[in-house]
Amino acid sequence: MSGKTPLIRLQAVSKSFGPVHANRDISLDIEEGRILALLGENGAGKSTLMSILAGQLQPDAGTIFHDGAPIELTSTDKAITAGIGMVYQHFKLVEAMTVAENIQLGHGGGMWLNWAEINDEVRELAAFYGMKVDPGARIADLSMGEKQQVEILKLLHRRSRVLIFDEPTAVLTPSEADNLFATMKLMVGQGKAIVFISHKLEEVMAIADNIVILRRGEVVDRVAAAAVASTVELAERMVGREVLLEVDRQAVEPRQIVLKVEKVAGDGLQAIDMEVRQGEILGIVGVAGNGQKPLVEMVCGLHRPPAGSIRLLGMEWRKFFADQKWDLALSYIPEDRQGLATCRNLDLVDNFLLTTRGGFVRGPWLQRRQAEEKAKRLIDEFDIRPPNPQALAWQLSGGNLQKMVLAREFYRKPRLIVAEQPTQGLDIAATEDVWRLLLEAREQAGILLVTGDLAEALALSDRIAVMFEGRIVATFAIDDREHVARIPQMMAGLEITA
């Protein structure tokens, strides 16, 4: 680290949510005129760290220094005053108002605003940083790239010195992304500090000065971008090599095919072929955003595959989802527990019934009392807290809610399980429980495991498929050491010719 006092320094910052360490002992420097990339999978603690810097969350421990002096960012106002600004993935703009009005919003000022002057200021600022934004244009008429420029102008106009970008290229076209990078370079040239959060390896390599890699809430690596030889090396550093937890995994004889995907394409996917047999776990690994989401949504019936065929339990996709049985079929354990797998304002019994209701029906009637008995037993068995079936879903912590979802889904005795980031946000003990459950479930089910945590994929999978840019670049058995060793290369998109 350079001798200069960094603009912002985090020292041993920690933040826990219940038993989960979202951030643990994080120390890093945000320096003037430098771009710092924060790299890590979903759930690695990036967004918690950002929220701390933005004054939305208070750390449990650790200190934040601003220009060398300790500062407490107890509110978003304080963070703004300290010159910290965020460009969120989902823009915070008023669509019906103009560019200049959005930039002026929240600025205070007197009763009367001199719009001519504000417009001039905005125009000058935009021109200086090479942006082509008309201050009088309505936000609703702008492209995503232009809206993002407005967000940046908002920060520049209030003289933010630290600009934090949360996956800024996710919504941009490639040429808009190039423009953004050019603007970023200009801004650091003016002495701004930039934090760039992404999991796109090439972008990080192209733009960052320093790279900090987070995994499971901790800084696992910090390196100067110049010292990284290739995206492959970066991928290796990101996924790590050591397996954190060992589980006792005995092979189960694979039996009939429960999922067969043939030539599925569209929505960013290209000619996906794969099959899952009862008795095995197929782990899909890859950097997030390489097609895992659309693939899972098609397999689980949320979206019709635009091309190709998906067969579940021997049935055609359309037929399978037209009259899906509640048990002995498909269980989907989604990444989004709060929004997709549960109803936040319903109690645990109702949430238990959400996918198991088919088992508690007599004629038109729902046998809620029986369901409550079952739910109580599962709450006990899975140690869900609070152990109260009348608790509403939103009152549970993420880990407990996940246990509730798992309890429910295993209760259905599925024959195909799609588990998406099943241990994200769970503490170690809960993670081990989930792993044990998934391994046990192989007796009766085939499991498609989609995870960003390579350690998890290696610990559980019988076979691994690596996804990159909507394709499955390779599928191999877990004891194929040669391939396993090259997973990082494949995740970074390098063709393997071995």
């Binding site: 019936g301 949320l302 989802f321 899906q324 989907y332 989604p334 929004g339 997709l340 797998a341 549960t342 109803c343 936040r344 304002n345 319903l346 109702d350 019934l353 959400l354 996918t355 209701r357 029906v361 038109p364 009637w365 729902l366 809620r368 009152q395």
Partner: protein, 353 residues
């Protein structure tokens, strides 16, 4: 300087939420008292006249019950749709169509005996109201239209259609030019309970209210409604046929409003005429919100808001307060109760800064 922090409550309020409700209603009464005093009427006298007019005599209470019947049925239907977060504000139009459907049966088959004629009228009323409610549901699915706007617009179509019938083809030739159909045959009229002036529609309310309550609470579809009303995404995830539920709730909603239209035409005015439309369908929305979509509390709120209508008539006679005062009071109650929701679901803490 004081700063108020608003945070979401972790535990919902228990009994004290009733206190908030009471305070909200009290505040709306105070505000309407201010309105009365602007007309140089003592607020206390005014409110006393209002309450005495509404609940001060057997005749008044019977009148309240008569008016509560259509409000209750419309509100029951609206509440079913609201559960799914489908904002049906078309009870007024569905009510009109129900009255039209029932009238068509009564005028076309006047010779049928009561036990056949009345069920046929009910069926036709529910069918007409239900189909009228189904249209916005289908438009919403096929063309992504907003059901709030469509149901509202369709109210005007329905009311004008009713007008067209009573001013034209259905006009009673002996009515001296008044826009009304001829009176229903006696067997097409729902009778009164004992010696009271309240009709047996009250019994219909009791049965239908129970049926809806049982349906929402104990059936599989009722559960699916509650789940999908909380989260459409979770419903799709769980394989709940959301689109079909939207159609279903709109049909149920419309059928109940149509049933109310039948009762009003048959029991209260014994014929079809434009004065059947007095805004019960809109009051029903207020009632459903006040009652938090629960059938039992809908019954209570229907009775109270019916009382408001009856009481205002008294206020008009005794103190020459315009009839619009009733609408104002109704709106004030809704606003204050909605605003009171802030205190039930959020915690406010005041800090010195």
């Amino acid at each position: 300087m004081f700063r108020v922090r608003i945070t979401r409550r972790q535990e919902p309020r228990g009994w004290s939420s009733w206190f908030v409700l009471g305070a909200a209603v009290a505040l709306s009464l105070v505000l309407s008292g201010v309105l009365l005093s602007l007309r140089d009427i003592s607020p206390l006298t005014g409110l006393a006249v209002l309450f005495k007019g509404a609940y001060g005599s057997r005749f008044a209470i019977e009148d309240c019950l008569i008016k509560a019947i259509p409000i209750f049925l419309c509100s029951l239907g609206v509440a079913v749709a609201f559960r799914l977060q489908i904002w049906n504000i078309g009870a007024e139009g569905q009510f009109a169509l129900g009255a039209v459907g029932a009238t068509w049966v009564a005028l076309t088959f006047p010779e049928l005996p009561g036990p056949i004629l009345l069920p046929a009228m009910i069926l036709m009323a529910a069918l007409a109201g239900g189909l009228w409610g189904m249209v916005p549901a289908l438009l919403r699915q096929r063309l992504q239209t907003n059901e709030i706007i469509v149901t509202l617009m369709m109210n005007y179509i329905a009311i004008l259609f009713l007008d067209y019938l009573v001013y034209g083809v259905w006009k009673d030739p002996t009515s001296y030019g008044f826009p009304m159909t001829s009176e229903f045959p006696p067997q097409a009229v729902v009778g009164k309970i004992g010696s009271t002036s309240v009709n047996w529609g009250l019994g219909h309310c009791l049965v239908l209210g129970t049926v809806v309550w049982v349906f929402i609470r104990f059936t599989r579809i009722g559960f699916e409604l509650r789940a999908a009303g909380d989260s459409v995404r979770a419903a799709r995830y769980a394989g709940i046929p959301y689109d079909r539920l939207v159609v279903l709730v709109m049909v149920i909603s419309g059928a109940l409003a149509g049933w109310a239209g039948f009762l009003e035409a048959s029991a209260t005015i014994n014929r079809l005429q434009p004065s059947i439309m007095v805004g019960y369908g809109y009051t029903a929305i207020v009632v459903a919100w006040l009652a938090r979509l629960n059938p039992l509390t809908i019954a209570i709120a229907s009775f109270l808001l019916a009382g408001l209508r009856v009481g205002v008539e008294n206020l008009q006679l005794d103190l020459q307060v315009p009839a619009a005062f009733g609408g104002i009071l109704e709106g004030l109650i809704l606003l204050t109760v909605l605003a009171g929701g802030l205190f039930t679901s959020y915690r406010l803490s005041v800090r010195r800064s």
